[in-house]
């Protein structure tokens, strides 16, 4: 499964993946708006193992993350926002959502989080040793290319699985509850993750990237 940056040609299938998985759907033009405004920030997971049937077969998208920079940040602080992320049910449990957001575990996680979420402790410890701040494509691009200081997103209150992914696996924190955020009236957790530590970690890596 390739994880790579999203291009225009991927969009029809990204749109299909979105409407297959989530109730929040968008016109193709809204995806184009993301891809053409911040081409470094949106990623797709692609099944590249299947042979093409015709020369016109588009990439088989099994997951995507659609991300943007906030155009006019109220607080004046540059930050990213995850508009939408989903993975086909047939391809869940492969860790694709996590890989889409970043390639490996968070080196820059604060030590305390390991204690709070003891059920994931083994995982986190493993990540602590192995991870390398270089390999978080989306967040890295937010910081490197657009100077983001944090990244935010919204999660439906009832979507426990997503909450756990963002909070426990990826290190987001719930900032507040936004009432009636979604069109059907459901509330959203507004979540945030600080990226300033990532910036420092990245700068270390530039030394050996030359």
């Amino acid at each position: 499964m390739d994880i790579r940056v999203l291009t225009s040609a991927d969009i029809p299938h990204v749109q299909s993946t979105n409407i297959t998985n989530l109730p929040e759907n968008y016109f193709l033009k809204y995806y184009l708006y993301h891809a053409l405004s911040w081409p470094q920030l949106s990623y797709v997971a692609v099944d590249v193992s299947r042979p093409k049937k015709t020369p016109y077969d588009p990439p088989k998208i099994v997951g995507y993350v659609l991300a943007k920079m906030e155009e006019e940040p109220v607080n004046g602080i540059q930050h990213g926002h995850i508009t939408s992320l989903s993975v086909m049910r047939t391809h869940r449990r492969l860790g694709l959502a996590e890989k889409l957001m970043r390639q490996s575990r968070m080196r820059y996680l604060s030590h305390t989080r390991r204690v709070y979420h003891s059920e994931r402790q083994t995982d986190l410890k493993e990540g602590f040793h192995e991870a390398d701040a270089r390999s978080f494509p989306l967040e890295r691009a937010m910081v490197e290319t657009f100077g983001a200081q944090y990244v935010s997103l919204h999660v439906r209150l009832a979507n426990i699985a997503a909450l756990r992914l963002y909070r426990d696996t990826l290190g987001f924190e719930v900032e507040k509850v936004e009432s009636k955020y979604y069109a059907d009236g459901e509330d959203a957790y507004s979540m945030k993750m600080n990226l300033t530590n990532l910036r420092e970690a990245l700068e270390d890596t530039y030394v050996d990237e030359g």
């Binding site: 994880i3 225009s8 029809p12 998985n21 405004s37 081409p39 015709t54």
Partner: protein, 746 residues
């Protein structure tokens, strides 16, 4: 009989007119109309005001009235650039781009200094891919306003797209040289312009210079990933393999789930698929760095053979199955094209099912680490169920046995229900399949994926009503036209297509055509979508992504989403040509309903009439409950659908002309698709365009000479040639003899 020139407006009206323009730009249509009418009370013949009024009315969705008004405006003020500009804008919104360009050009002749008209003209030219025209317009815009970087970049883009790469580069450099000091690092427009220029240098084939430029100008470019990718690529192209290998190693540290990086590295190291030992080490090293990664352990399964394959596959499968990864089968089935690998995998996983873990490499160790035999056993059964359900390893009774075992231990599993439904589908029992999916859906009603699957299987079983009800659980309630309206708004291509195909099976060709036409409309919208980006992307400064989008849009209709719907639509028109009666009565026996006797036919017609009445009633009810204020994606009011059942589509007097609207783009964009060629054949044959039919036949034959439909079409064409009452032109006969006879089946 030129009308007298209109009186110039008094100062109060002049400022009102400015107000009207502002109101239009801010979409304050009611205010704008009010102000316009106020002017017109004083000066009823004022062309510019009438034109603005037309523009506003058009934006409110009344195009006919707008055109009529615009004509009045032009009659009053032939020499007004505003009137001509508005006329162009109306044509543009009606998608008559050629007329719009003419009107803009006329307006520009009257007012050569107008930035706005010049820009509107430029936008249409690039939308129409009139590269030479666009180049001219961009040059004029730049010469009027030299201080804006985007005007320079725009000229470079125009030159680039017109194929003049050298001048595109020169234009970008010229602008750079006017800068007093290097722009700050935060200037993303500048950073992108540098990479855009670099991509142009590379496109000219000058990799050496591209690399130099990259190293000199893009060292601190904020788009680091792009810089590193380009650098690796150039080094590889230049044969500087050692440096290229280093560059790909660094990229793999950034993202180890991207095949292109592995392939680059292999090439840089001079490895091909026979250097198994080196490849193993390469992938092994990356895997060690990425213990949670997939690619570095999965890709080797492609080049390993024999015992080495067996060992690696064993490790891979056990690791995934212990973790309970549902998609394990999906992730390995591509290996099945190699029947030995398929058999090895079957043997291994059958072994796990029989409890033979310890005999296999690393099996026991894995087991201790994960300790997840709770997940392992069901994962193995689930894998085997999918395995025996798969085309290349199908044994449906075995598949059913394993899925039933899996279900007996986890009766609430959505995944197992989905797989069981698929097994029924392969048995040909669409009803059972739909039932199982529906059962799965009720087990997790908040998950849209299973909801989607349930609806899809219902459509396959021709339960359109149940399907739309299911879909409605996740669509917007306020959309015009209910759930189906929402699915159209959200461009849900798969549903519309499946719905249409289901209506073909049921003989409801009107609704089927309706759906396929909707797909065609969605592609029109997608094509239109690029329009705003011609200016937006220049403002944003993200040029490479913009050029990439343009190139994608150029062949948009080769997408299988389009092909599938277009082939079906063209087939229906062929049926309508052959059996015009189909336009009036619904078939009751599916598409082959021509065998009905007259009593049956009468009965069917009666039923069709009744259905029609019922539908009309439902439609009226739906209209009553229609919510006001429905808008399209541009915020403009939506037009009411005057043919919701596709009856008007069905009653066309020229089905073959309609068919060509689908066949033409099919043959232009997907000539290598055999179904496209075959449906083209059917249409050309009926239009008696024998040489064009022959052309599609030769194309199909080149794609697959053993295709049965191609074979049958060849025989039919031969028969047609032999039995023609009017012998064709002598020259045509000569072409047939030379080109057709060699492929004519014996």
């Amino acid at each position: 009989m030129a009308p007298p020139p209109p009186q110039p407006l008094a100062s109060k009206e002049r400022s009102l007119f400015t107000q009207v323009v502002k109101n239009y730009e801010n979409k304050q249509y009611k205010k704008g109309l009010k102000a316009a009418d106020q002017i017109l009370r004083k000066s009823p013949d004022h062309g510019d005001t009438i034109a603005m009024k037309a523009l506003i009315i058009n934006s409110q969705g009344n195009s006919e009235e707008a055109f009529a008004l615009a004509k009045v405006a032009l009659k009053n003020s032939m020499k007004s650039h505003v009137c001509w500009h508005v006329y162009g804008l109306l044509y543009r919104s009606a998608k008559n781009f050629e007329e719009a360009i003419k009107a803009y050009k006329f307006a520009l002749k009257l007012e050569p200094e107008s930035q706005q008209i010049q820009k509107d003209l430029a936008l249409l030219q690039i939308q129409m891919r009139d590269y030479q025209g666009y180049l001219q317009s961009r040059r004029a815009i730049l010469q009027q306003r030299t201080g804006w970087r985007q005007n320079w970049t725009a000229l470079a883009v125009a030159q680039h797209l017109a194929g003049d790469l050298a001048n595109a580069e020169r234009t970008l450099t010229t602008y750079e040289e006017t800068l007093k000091s290097p722009p700050p690092k935060t200037d993303t427009e500048h950073a992108e312009a540098i990479l855009y220029k670099n991509s142009i240098i590379a496109e000219m084939g000058e990799k050496e210079r591209a690399l130099e430029h990259l190293d000199a100008a893009a060292k601190n470019n904020p788009d680091r990933t792009s810089v590193m990718e380009l650098r690796a690529q150039y080094l590889l192209n230049l044969g500087r393999k050692e440096e290229a290998a280093k560059a790909y190693h660094l990229l793999l540290k950034r993202n180890a789930e991207y095949r292109a990086y592995f392939e680059g590295l292999e090439e840089a190291l001079g490895l091909d698929k026979s250097n198994v030992e080196e490849l193993r080490k390469l992938y092994g090293d990356v895997a060690k760095d990425n213990p949670r990664g997939d690619a570095a352990t999965r890709i080797p399964l492609e080049f390993l053979e024999g015992d080495e394959f067996r060992e690696a596959a064993d490790q891979y499968l056990q690791r995934m199955l212990h973790k309970g990864v549902w998609s394990t089968f999906n992730n390995v089935k591509a290996l099945y094209s190699d029947s030995q690998k398929r058999d090895t995998i079957q043997d291994l996983v059958e072994g796990y099912a029989a409890g033979m873990l310890n005999t296999q490499a690393n099996g026991s160790a894995e087991r201790q680490i994960n300790g997840d035999s709770d997940l392992f056993t069901p994962s193995v059964r689930y894998f085997l169920a999918q395995h025996y359900n798969y085309r290349l390893s199908r044994d449906l009774p075995k598949a059913m046995k394993y899925i039933d075992e899996a279900l007996s231990s986890a009766p609430e599993s959505v995944e197992y229900h989905m797989t069981k439904a698929r097994i029924w589908k392969h048995y040909g029992n669409l009803q059972k399949a739909a039932e199982l999916m529906e059962e799965g859906r009720t087990l997790d009603v908040r998950d849209r994926y299973i909801n989607t699957k349930a609806a899809k299987y219902q459509l396959r079983n021709n339960e359109n009503e149940a399907a739309i009800q299911n879909m409605g659980k996740f669509t917007r309630n306020e959309a015009l036209g209910g759930p189906l309206g929402d699915l159209h708004d959200m461009q849900c291509v798969w549903y519309i297509t499946e719905d249409g195909e289901s209506y073909i099976r049921q003989g409801n060709l009107g609704l089927a055509l309706k759906r396929f036409t909707s797909i065609s409309t969605i592609f029109e919208i997608w094509q239109e979508d690029q329009f705003d980006f011609h200016s937006f992307s220049l403002r944003k400064g993200q040029i490479r992504a913009y050029v990439d989008m343009m190139r994608w849009e150029d062949h948009l209709r080769e997408h299988p989403f389009f092909t599938r719907a277009a082939v079906s639509a063209a087939r229906i028109y062929v049926m309508l040509h052959d059996q015009p009666d189909l336009a009036h009565a619904k078939m009751t026996n599916g598409v082959n309903g021509e065998k009905m006797d007259s009593a049956e036919r009468k009965k069917a017609q009666k039923k069709a009439k009744k259905d029609q009445e019922k539908q009309a009633k439902e439609e009226a009810e739906r209209k009553d409950s229609k919510k006001p204020g429905a808008v399209d994606q541009n915020g403009d009011p939506k037009k009411e659908d005057k043919d919701p059942k596709g009856e008007k589509l069905l009653q066309t007097s020229e089905p073959l002309v309609e068919a060509m609207k689908f066949v033409t783009p099919l043959l232009e964009f997907s000539p290598k698709n055999i179904k496209a060629q075959q449906v083209g054949f059917e249409v050309f044959l009926r239009r008696k365009k024998y040489l064009l039919a022959l052309r599609t036949l030769l194309a199909s034959n080149a794609l697959s000479s053993s295709d049965p439909t191609t074979h049958e079409q060849a025989i039919r064409l031969g028969h047609t040639f032999r039995t023609q009452t009017e012998p064709p032109d002598r020259k045509v006969q000569e072409v047939i003899a030379a080109e057709f006879d060699p492929v004519l089946p014996a």
